[in-house]
Symmetry: C2
Subunit: 154 residues, 2 copies
């Protein structure tokens, strides 16, 4: 299996873009980080390692990583984007606790045939699918009651 760096260099070459240390340092940091990140946390963790890259460069590099399928936008809950690296990571979805903000990942194999169904039924070609579940995690359950019980058909 190719490394993320190889994937990225191939993408860069194909597009006639330029291989720069900044982009590769940012990419390395993204894949060194355990999970979700945002621009600010990424910027800070680079700085803490003594790597000086401007936020502008991070903002300009992210669309490239997304475009070549290494990274995806996850959510926009706090008024800014959160991202995660997806290459080499099982397809998964997210549980977000409304009380503590914790994010859990889970798999939903039942969705594997959804793409085919959407193609047949709507002529829609699926590129990505993500299930976003909000609620209360085990620790917060009871402490903070949900406003309304979930209903399938209100």
């Amino acid at each position: 299996m190719k490394s993320e760096l190889e994937i990225f260099r191939e993408y860069i070459r194909q597009r006639g873009l330029r291989r720069t240390p900044e982009r590769e340092l940012i990419l390395a940091e993204i894949f060194a980080t355990h999970e979700h990140f945002d621009v600010d946390s990424l910027y800070l963790s680079l700085r803490q390692k003594g790597i000086k890259v401007s936020k502008a460069s991070i903002y300009r590099a992210l669309p490239l990583f997304i475009d070549c399928g290494l990274v995806r936008e996850v959510d926009f809950t706090d008024g800014h984007w959160h991202y995660e690296h997806i290459y080499g990571h099982e397809q998964h979805h997210h549980l977000r606790c409304l009380a503590c903000g914790e994010v859990l990942e889970f798999a939903e194999p039942g969705l594997s045939c959804l793409g085919l169904r959407l193609l047949q039924e709507y002529g829609f070609t699926v590129v990505s699918q993500h299930l976003d579940v909000k609620g209360y995690c085990r620790a917060c359950r009871g402490h903070e009651a949900p406003a309304e019980p979930e209903k399938e058909t209100p």
Copy 2:
């Protein structure tokens, strides 16, 4: 079945908030509108009817509607939030065309038992779940090829 206005008034009363014409006009407009909206379109459609409500009031009213389960945030694709009214509307998910931006709705009954599974497996109490699918609609299919074919396990 209670009307959205009744739901909202009950919510307002319970919280000791105040029933104002502005909030109810905004709510009425949201439910008069066919589907998805954003703050700007809502503001403009109110204005076109000669209803003067400030954007600040809209921004301050939306969290209330969301909190009482009448409205939900849908996505943040264009750099700002989009919303939809959900009360009295079948639970559904979204297909977003990456080429033309069109949004289709579809049902996924297979997810109806997900809540129970997440509760058993993770102790997670589901409040809401939304499946966000990106890809290319029938009209755009072929015109603009997806960057990477979808893979279940990369």
